[in-house]
Every structure is written in structure tokens, then in C-alpha cells.
């Protein structure tokens, strides 16, 4: 317990198997601890299991063996409703493909997690507006996703991930669908979030993206190959 006292995420001996007409092992006995306020990148080729690890930590999936604890909550034994609550309030997701609701405006997209968390309408809007202006989209609140550029969409998604003040922000290839310059600006937003004390876990296969984190966890064939402290993180 002492080791995990200051940890936002504890992944302890986790394996994940899929039965796809034959057993496929996506993760094999992985252990990892994310301390509060840390910024970690997971790197690995496609199929290495890095997205599976992210899904387990985010409560989208449950491990076949081992334990995943997020913000003190053991997800391995959680029921469907509890997992939903974890996804809604304990973690915030940022996806490669943005995953905004197409028929909701920017402000409604940001407020969506608050709907499921039971906030009333006025408070939801107030919170969403303030988050949108934090990410520099205060003048785009009533735009639909189709009316926004890729970079703007990703910033809406980041604002949405922050709406419930989660203990952990998860990003899956957040720069994968935008140009280099926009990607760099999104990574700046992550740096700001880190500086503000948020705990971040980012999955990428690009070296220069991973290097923005404090440390890089290399995953291959479902196992943690090495953990590397980056110069970025040490200064």
C-alpha cells in the first residue's frame, strides 16, 4: 500500500487475452505505476498491446488477470456501472480520431460527460464554456465538429476530457490525425496540463511525441521492454 499511496494508477501483473478462434495474448504480466502529476508515454509498434493497456487503465476493458487500480478504485473487480463512472469522472480520454458527437456543438460536446455525471444544465454550460476558452476556442462554442479544423476538434476533445476534473488524462495517438504544426500545438497543451499538476498517460508510436513526456514505457509483444527517463522530463 505504501508504494501505491501516492500513485494515481497501479497496474499490477496484468494480462489480457482475447479469444479470436485461438488465444491471442495482448498483454502479458504487465506492471506499471503512474504517480500523481506524472507524464508518461507508452511507445511501441502497432499490435504491441499499448492501446489495450490504455483501454484497461481507462475502464473501457477489464483485465483477464492482474489488478488495475485507478485513483484508489480497483477496476478489475468493478461492475459495468462502476466502470462507466470511472470513465466519466476518474479519467478523461483524448482519441486520435477526436470522437466528438457529430450533432452536438462544441460546448455540448465538452459538457457531455457532465450530463452523465448528473450536473444540471446551467452548471454544465458554465463549466464547458470556461474549458473551451482555456483551450482557446471561446469563439467557437456553437460550432458543430464539421465546422471545426482538426486541431480545433482535438482541443474540444481535450476540453471534454478535462470537464469532470479527472485524476488521469489518457491520450491515444492524439497527434495522429493532424499536421505536424497543429500536433506540436496540441502537445503544448499537454505540457500545460502537466505543468498544472495533471497526471497524463499518452500512447504513441512517434519518438518525438513520446519525448515530450517525463518517461517513456516501451511495450513490445504485450510486455514492458524498458522504461526510459527522458531529458525533457528531468529538467
Amino acid at each position: 500500500m505504501s508504494e501505491t499511496a501516492n500513485a494515481t494508477v497501479v497496474v499490477d501483473g496484468v494480462s489480457k487475452h482475447y479469444d479470436l478462434g485461438g488465444r491471442v495474448t495482448a498483454l502479458d504480466d504487465v506492471s506499471l505505476t503512474l504517480s500523481k502529476g506524472s507524464y508518461t508515454a507508452i511507445m511501441g509498434p502497432s499490435g504491441s498491446g499499448k492501446s489495450t493497456l490504455l483501454n484497461l487503465v481507462g475502464g473501457l476493458d477489464t483485465p483477464s488477470a492482474g489488478r488495475v487500480v485507478v485513483d484508489g478504485r480497483d477496476l478489475s473487480s468493478a461492475g459495468e456501472d462502476e466502470l462507466a463512472a470511472v470513465r466519466g469522472t476518474d479519467v478523461g480520454f483524448v482519441f486520435q480520431t477526436f470522437n466528438l458527437m457529430p450533432r452536438l456543438t462544441a460546448v455540448e460536446n465538452v459538457a457531455l460527460p457532465l450530463v452523465f455525471d448528473g450536473w444540471d444544465r446551467d452548471r454544465r454550460r458554465e463549466r464547458a464554456l470556461s474549458l473551451l476558452s482555456d483551450v482557446g476556442l471561446g469563439d467557437r462554442i456553437d460550432h458543430l465538429p464539421t465546422e471545426l479544423s482538426g486541431g480545433q476538434r482535438q482541443r474540444v476533445a481535450i476540453a471534454r476530457a478535462l470537464s469532470t476534473e479527472p485524476a488521469l488524462i489518457l491520450a491515444d495517438e492524439p497527434t495522429g490525425n493532424v499536421d505536424t504544426e497543429t500536433g506540436a500545438r496540441i502537445l503544448d497543451v499537454f505540457d500545460d496540463l502537466h505543468a498544472a499538476g495533471n497526471t497524463l498517460l499518452l500512447v504513441t508510436h512517434e519518438r518525438h511525441v513520446a519525448e515530450r513526456a517525463e518517461r517513456v514505457v516501451h511495450v513490445e509483444d504485450g510486455r514492458v521492454r524498458s522504461i526510459e527517463e527522458t531529458p525533457e522530463g528531468t529538467d
Binding site: E80, P102, D117, T164
Partner: protein, 411 residues
């Protein structure tokens, strides 16, 4: 989740597929409208007919003979109710008056230069004409050489027959009798409660001296007048008791029993029996036809289910997003159920007025007074929503079970 929010999201999604949603709603509209149309029309016809009977005949018990096992409308048969029977019936507890009726054969009726063929006139007692049915003049007295006519009869003559004038009645054997018209009525006490009955031209004469059908009364042992039908004006609060007392007398002691063939039933039927009989028939027809209309509603429901399933497939990715940001299974289910219920409710809201308009047109066409069936209307809206929810249950359940990881990968 906040129900208002799920409605807002649903409205957004319905607007996103205007044509598809509109066509789905049309299915429900047709279903609800046909149910409302037939229910309203049935209720109107029933109210019209029942209203006719109830206003004039609520306190009457009709006594007549009818062939056994005859389920059709009772036909009046032989004159079997003797004077003794009439007196005994009049003395039954709860009976205020006994009004026998008979038929006198005639050939024609003449007024001024105009002669109208007339095969029969009705012989009855003065008590048949209460002040409420008299339009002008007075009732005839027993033994008076006078007639009372109804308004339709009065109108049959050019320049309208009115009280104080005379008519000449040619009897079956060719004898001409000139009689004073002492009163004009719009119906009588003691008519059989069939609405068209009152609207035919009628001539009434006093039993004495015109009616002469006689039989030997088995109980009195003398020849007496006998009638095919007797109406008892009864205390409206005691109809059932009166009815059974009368029925008991008829089947056990009456002259009519010994004078009738074995396959003849002697019946005492109240106005409300007639009302019930008629209501029953109309209701059965209405229910049957409305039941057919319900098929249209089922088709509408299948339309909703179909569209909802398409919607779930199409929005798999959205379901994944909602789940990723904290939606529980029941939140997802709620969103899809609300959508289905809204489609059903829109259908009902449009279907009810449409059904009423068509129902109104039908009543105008059939020349009956339009009356609403509020119960059916409320039911139709409830059924519309229910149909939507039921049709949406399976699609919503499918939506709730979508795996978020698969859904987020879904294009």
C-alpha cells in the same frame, strides 16, 4: 441521466434524419388515426341510437310474445294478452300504468279531397298521450269517436292536419267513419324503442269502440279483448324488481301463457334491455373494426422498430463515445427509448386530430350526430407511446450492450 437532456439529444437526432423519421411517424399516424376514426364513428352511432331510446323509454317495460330462440329483433306476434292479463299487470308492484296496444285494420284515411292508403291504425288507451308528447289538442277519451295523429301523419296531408279538423277513416270492411282529430302528438308513451318507429305517420284510435280482437280468457272464462303487446309504465327506480315480477306472472299464471304456442316466449323487456342489446351489437362491431385498425398500428410499430435498429447501427460510434465519457448502459438505453417513444408520441399527436377529422366526416356522411370517444383518444395516445417504447426496447437493448472499444473503432 437528465431526462430533459435525453429528449434534447433525441430531438437533435430525429432532426438529423427528417425524412426517415417522418415516414416512420406516418406509419403510426395512420394506425392511430384509423383506430380513432372507427372508435369515434362507432361511439357516435351508439350515442345517437341509444340516446333516442333512453330519453323516451327509460321507465318502460315492454310485454310481448316472441318465437323461442329468435335472437333477432323481437317480432310482435299474436294478440294473447287478455284484459284480465292487462289488469293483473297494471296491479303489479311498481307498475304505474298498463298500456295495451292493438292493431285495427283499415283501408284508407281521407281529409278534405285527399285520400291516403292506410292499412292499419293503432288502438290504445288515452293514457298513452301524456302532456309531454302532445303537440296540440288533447288525448281522446275512451269510447269517443276521435283520433289522435302524430306529426308525420299530420304533415302527410296538404296544408297540415291540425286538432279540431276531421278525417274520414275507411275500415277494413268498407265502412266510412268520420272522426274528429282531437290531438297531434310527437310520439307516445309505450312505443317500442326503435328510433324509426316514431318517425312513420301514425293514427291512433281509442280501443273502445274500435278494437275488437277477442278471445275467451282461460282465467275469467269470458270473451275479452286481447292485445299483442302491452307496455307497462314502471317506477324507474324499481325496474329490475318490476320486470321479474311481471316475468313470473307471464310464465306462470297469465292467460297469454295458455293462449300461446309452446314455442312462444312471453317476455318483459325494459327500455334499458333494448339499450343494452343495441349497444352490445354496436360495440361489438366497433370493437371488431377498431381491432382491424389496430393492425395498422402494429405495422406502425414495426416501422419504429426497424428505424430504431438502423439508427442503432448507424450510431454505434456515437454510443461508443457516450460510453467512453461515462454513459452507463441504462443511459444509452434511455436515449434510444426516448427516441422511439417520441416517434410514437408524434404519431399519436398527429393521428388523433386526423382520426377525429375523418371520424367527423364519416358521421356527417352517415348523418349521425358526432360524439367524441375521450377514453379511446387517451388510449390511442398512450398506445402510441407504448408502441414506440415496445418497438424501441429491443433496439435500445442492443444499443446498451454495444462494446465501447468495438464501437469506437466502428466507422
Amino acid at each position: 441521466m437528465d431526462p430533459a437532456e435525453s429528449v434534447r439529444m433525441t430531438v437533435r437526432s430525429i432532426r438529423g434524419h427528417k425524412l426517415r423519421s417522418a415516414l416512420t411517424v406516418v406509419g403510426v399516424v395512420i394506425g392511430i388515426a384509423s383506430v380513432i376514426t372507427f372508435a369515434t364513428f362507432g361511439a357516435s352511432v351508439e350515442t345517437e341510437i341509444v340516446g333516442d331510446i333512453e330519453t323516451t323509454n327509460a321507465g318502460n317495460v315492454y310485454v310481448f310474445a316472441t318465437a323461442s330462440g329468435d335472437d333477432d329483433f323481437d317480432r310482435v306476434l299474436q294478440p294473447v294478452f287478455t284484459e284480465s292479463d292487462v289488469n293483473r299487470l297494471a296491479a303489479t308492484d311498481g307498475v304505474r300504468a298498463a298500456l295495451p296496444r292493438g292493431i285495427v285494420r283499415t283501408q284508407s284515411i281521407r281529409h278534405g279531397n285527399q285520400t291516403l292508403a292506410r292499412q292499419q291504425v293503432t288502438a290504445t288507451r288515452p293514457a298513452s298521450f301524456t302532456p309531454s308528447v302532445l303537440v296540440e289538442g288533447r288525448a281522446f277519451e275512451s269510447g269517443e269517436d276521435a283520433v289522435v295523429v302524430n306529426e308525420d301523419m299530420a304533415r302527410s296531408f296538404d296544408g297540415n292536419l291540425s286538432a279540431g279538423e276531421t278525417v274520414t277513416l275507411t275500415t277494413a270492411d268498407g265502412e266510412e267513419r268520420t272522426l274528429a282529430v282531437v290531438g297531434v302528438v310527437n310520439g307516445t308513451r309505450g312505443e317500442l324503442p326503435v328510433s324509426d318507429f316514431a318517425r312513420q305517420p301514425r293514427v291512433y284510435v281509442p280501443i273502445e269502440p274500435f278494437y275488437d280482437a277477442v278471445v275467451e280468457s282461460p282465467s275469467a272464462g269470458v270473451r275479452q279483448r286481447a292485445y299483442p303487446q302491452v307496455t307497462l309504465v314502471a317506477d324507474p327506480r324499481r325496474i329490475p324488481e318490476t320486470q321479474s315480477a311481471v316475468q313470473a306472472y307471464l310464465s306462470e299464471e297469465s292467460d297469454a301463457r295458455s293462449l300461446s304456442a309452446d314455442d312462444t316466449d312471453l317476455v318483459a323487456r325494459s327500455g334499458s334491455d333494448f339499450v343494452e342489446q343495441i349497444s352490445d351489437v354496436i360495440e361489438r362491431i366497433t370493437r371488431f373494426v377498431t381491432g382491424i385498425a389496430v393492425i395498422a398500428l402494429v405495422v406502425g410499430a414495426i416501422g419504429i422498430a426497424n428505424v430504431m435498429l438502423v439508427s442503432v447501427t448507424e450510431r454505434t460510434r456515437e454510443i461508443g463515445i457516450m460510453k467512453a465519457v461515462g454513459a452507463r448502459n441504462r443511459d444509452v438505453m434511455q436515449i434510444f427509448l426516448v427516441e422511439a417513444a417520441l416517434l410514437g408520441a408524434f404519431g399519436s399527436l398527429l393521428g388523433v386530430p386526423l382520426g377525429l377529422v375523418v371520424g367527423y366526416a364519416a358521421t356527417r356522411y352517415a348523418e349521425v350526430t358526432f360524439s367524441l370517444a375521450p377514453l379511446w383518444m387517451g388510449l390511442a395516445v398512450a398506445v402510441g407511446v407504448l408502441v414506440g417504447v415496445l418497438a424501441g426496447l429491443y433496439p435500445a437493448w442492443r444499443a446498451a450492450r454495444v462494446d465501447p472499444i468495438d464501437a469506437l473503432r466502428h466507422e
